[in-house]
């Protein structure tokens, strides 16, 4: 570790980043007007932006000071925290690229190198970034380690293998057996053992010694943060709901990519306080909430605003999503007294690694507890594990709960897949069904 690099990193962390943030704030003093259909915006948005900007900004000064790991969204990151890795989440970064409507450019770079257009757009964007160095975040640090888990999909393994091959760095894969009915004892032991086997490799790459109490500290914080996130989502049971799921898509970033760190823990306390105070005051995310909807699958990052406005103008608010719920669903299993087994339970049973019956029961439960009137299912080309089964789920839910539901085909980050006229007609027809079912 060079002293010079460490000095630069410390200066940026403590003075540079905050100063730049204040300057950014000063520079951009004309906020976009909020359309009438929306309630007052969340005050926490500002803090969220600060946290994420700072995270990406600081990442530039990390090489030579801290080891960098690229991590998948469902990987047990608490273990890496114990070795002080600076973590970058390619999925989060790809969503950012998608939100900036640059997904097609990055995908094109990956496709030019031979990656299939049928490959997940998060993967193509990340590979496009790796091959070109391009990023809207300025610059991302090169990883010293790759850390993935197939509990979200099998693609991550091959995607990370491609990066490991290109950059010649180690890859740790956490193998999570799919839960076909229930997690077995053997599954849990297998995963718990893998976690412990990772320690010597992590020690070698990070050149740090593992301390169980340090790790447990991160685990405890992660658990507490997830619970706060769960409480925030829970607040959306209120009528009107204090935020929309489109807000939640943005506020999800820290729980995904800064999980286990004090900054995320503190942030969600701020957000929880704000949503609870909005509930107490009866402040809704949209001005006139007449219908309450549920979202299934990952966000359409380049169309969040379009979709939010489309539904808000029709007095419809998304109050729940299987996607945002995923980071609160299984963390109840975490237990500091039994870290390895509890992590195996938490990370092995997340929604995408669990069977359709589980998903059906979960969705039915959410529809009930959040007083949901209709459901929009985003069938995304990128994410097969999330999209396969949606037609069956829709059929059963529509029949059993007499709930209008629509499937729209799009993609998470590759905007070339978006066909606005078709999607708009479909969504409008869904709204007509919903209005008919409630009025008729």
């Amino acid at each position: 570790m060079s002293l010079r690099a460490e000095f630069k990193y410390k200066i940026m962390k403590d003075y540079g980043a905050p100063a730049l943030m204040a300057f950014q704030d000063f520079k951009k003093r004309k906020p976009r007007p909020t359309p009438e259909a929306f309630g007052p915006p969340l005050k926490s948005n500002k803090r969220l932006k600060e946290i994420l900007t700072r995270h990406y900004l600081l990442s530039r000064y990390v090489p030579g000071v801290r080891k960098v790991a690229w991590v998948t969204s469902g990987a047990p990151v608490e273990l890496l925290r114990a070795f002080d890795f600076y973590t970058i989440y390619p999925e989060n970064h790809s969503a950012l690229v998608g939100a900036k409507k640059q997904g097609a450019d990055y995908c094109g770079i990956a496709e030019g190198s031979g990656f299939s257009q049928d490959l997940c757009s998060y993967a193509r964007i990340d590979l496009g970034h790796m091959l070109s160095g391009k990023t809207p975040a300025g610059k991302l640090p090169k990883p010293d380690l790759l850390f993935c888990s197939n509990n979200i999909c099998q693609t991550v393994l091959y995607w990370y293998k491609a990066i490991a091959h290109e950059l010649k760095i180690p890859l740790i894969h956490f193998d999570a057996p799919f839960v076909t009915t229930q997690q077995t004892e053997a599954d849990i032991n297998y995963m718990a053992q893998q976690l412990q086997d990772m320690i010597p490799i992590l020690e070698r790459v990070s050149q740090r010694v593992f301390y169980l109490d340090v790790f447990e500290g991160f685990l405890k914080r992660s658990m507490e943060t997830s619970q706060t996130w769960g409480a925030i989502l829970n607040a959306m049971k209120a009528k009107p709901a204090p935020m929309t799921i489109f807000d939640a898509f943005g506020h999800l970033a820290p729980i995904v990519s800064l999980r286990g760190l004090p900054v995320a823990q503190d942030y969600y306390h701020i957000l929880l306080e704000e949503v609870e105070s909005r509930v107490a005051q009866g402040i809704g995310a949209i001005t006139d909430e007449r219908y309450r909807l549920m979202w299934d699958n990952i966000a359409v990052w380049y169309k969040v605003r379009f979709l939010a406005t489309f539904f808000a103008e029709r007095k419809m608010n998304f109050v729940s999503a299987t996607y945002t719920n995923a980071w609160a669903e299984t963390t109840g299993h975490l237990d500091v007294k039994d870290p390895w087994t509890s992590m195996a339970k938490t990370y092995g049973q997340i929604i995408l690694n669990n069977n359709l019956k589980h998903r059906l029961d979960l969705m039915k439960g959410m529809i009930k507890t959040y007083s949901v009137d209709g459901m929009v299912m985003h069938s995304t080309r990128s994410c097969k594990p999330y999209s396969v089964g949606q037609f069956d789920l829709r059929k059963v839910i529509t029949a059993d709960l007499n709930l209008p539901a629509v499937i729209m085909e799009a993609d998470i980050a590759d905007e070339r897949v978006w066909s606005e006229q078709q999607i708009q007609t479909r969504l409008e027809a869904f709204c007509e069904t919903l209005e008919g079912s409630k009025n008729g």
């Binding site: 037609f391 059929k395 529509t398 209008p404 085909e409 066909s419 006229q421 078709q422 007609t425 479909r426 409008e428 027809a429 007509e432 069904t433 008919g436 079912s437 008729g440």
Partner: protein, 264 residues
């Protein structure tokens, strides 16, 4: 007493259709013109000629519902509704026992389930590609140097029809080109095309299910060969409107009437 009249304007990708009804639901006039490049102009022209046919003036129309892909461009409309709802209502008006509507339009096809009032309960649509739509037939007719009527006759062919995939219009056209190059008889290709559309529709029908009588709407309902194949595949007789192309406009006119009644 001043009579109230109601109009539905369906600005589709291929044609713009207008229907005017009186309060008893009687159709006073129907007009179909090509949409061309300018949807709002087509809507104006079709509306004017429908008024002329019904011997009415604009003032006598109390409510106008616009529908179809160009619904937003109909400046004179008093309301707008998707063509999916409109086809449901229109089909129900013509055949009150309709429980399922199959609409094969210019660039999309849909299967709609309606309740006893014609209100849409559920629907499914083709995705991303015009295979299985009117546009598909147009492209193929062009390639085969046939007009749409010639493409629509029921065929009794010897042996199997030429296999043509139903996932992509452009690829299907390439398939037709190579079939022609192999001197495949034209009627075998036409039969294959009709079958390709039927297979595409069949997939949508099975995903949503059939309830009650089935009514076929949209211009493709004029294609007798296709109707025959679809009836065989579904194992039931389809209700075919006299003017299948204007069912959306008819439904829109009825929705205009309903919204007028509700607000008065």
């Amino acid at each position: 007493m001043v009579e109230n009249y109601f109009a539905g304007v369906d600005v589709g990708s291929l044609s713009t259709d207008v229907c005017i009804i009186d309060p008893s639901g009687k159709v006073l006039s129907e007009v179909v013109i090509p949409t061309g490049l300018n949807g709002s102009e087509a809507a104006e022209n079709a509306f004017d000629s429908a008024l002329q046919k019904a011997a009415l003036t604009r003032d006598s129309i109390s409510a106008i519902t616009a529908t179809g892909y160009g619904r937003a461009s109909v400046a004179f409309a008093t309301g707008k509704t998707t063509e999916i709802s409109c086809h449901g209502v229109g089909a129900h008006q013509l055949f009150p026992k309709t429980g399922t509507v199959i609409d094969i339009g210019g660039q999309d096809s849909k299967v709609i389930q309606v309740d006893s009032q014609g209100r849409m309960l559920d629907f499914t649509m083709n995705d991303k590609c015009a295979a299985g739509t009117g546009r598909f037939l147009e492209v193929m007719a062009n390639r085969l140097e046939l007009d749409l009527d010639e493409l629509s006759s029921p065929l009794h062919i010897q042996g199997d029809s030429a296999p043509i995939s139903s996932t992509c219009t452009v690829f299907a056209e390439s398939e037709v080109i190579s079939l022609l190059a192999k001197h495949t008889p034209r009627e075998h290709i036409v039969h294959g095309l009709q079958r390709s559309i039927v297979n595409r529709i069949w997939g949508m029908v099975t995903s949503i299910g059939i309830e009650g009588e089935v009514t076929l709407t949209g211009g493709v309902a004029n294609n007798q060969g296709l109707v025959k194949l679809l009836e065989e595949k579904l194992g039931l007789a389809l209700n075919i409107p006299e003017n299948p192309q204007t069912v959306g406009a008819l439904g829109a006119a009825h929705l205009a009437f309903r919204s007028f009644k509700n607000s008065h």
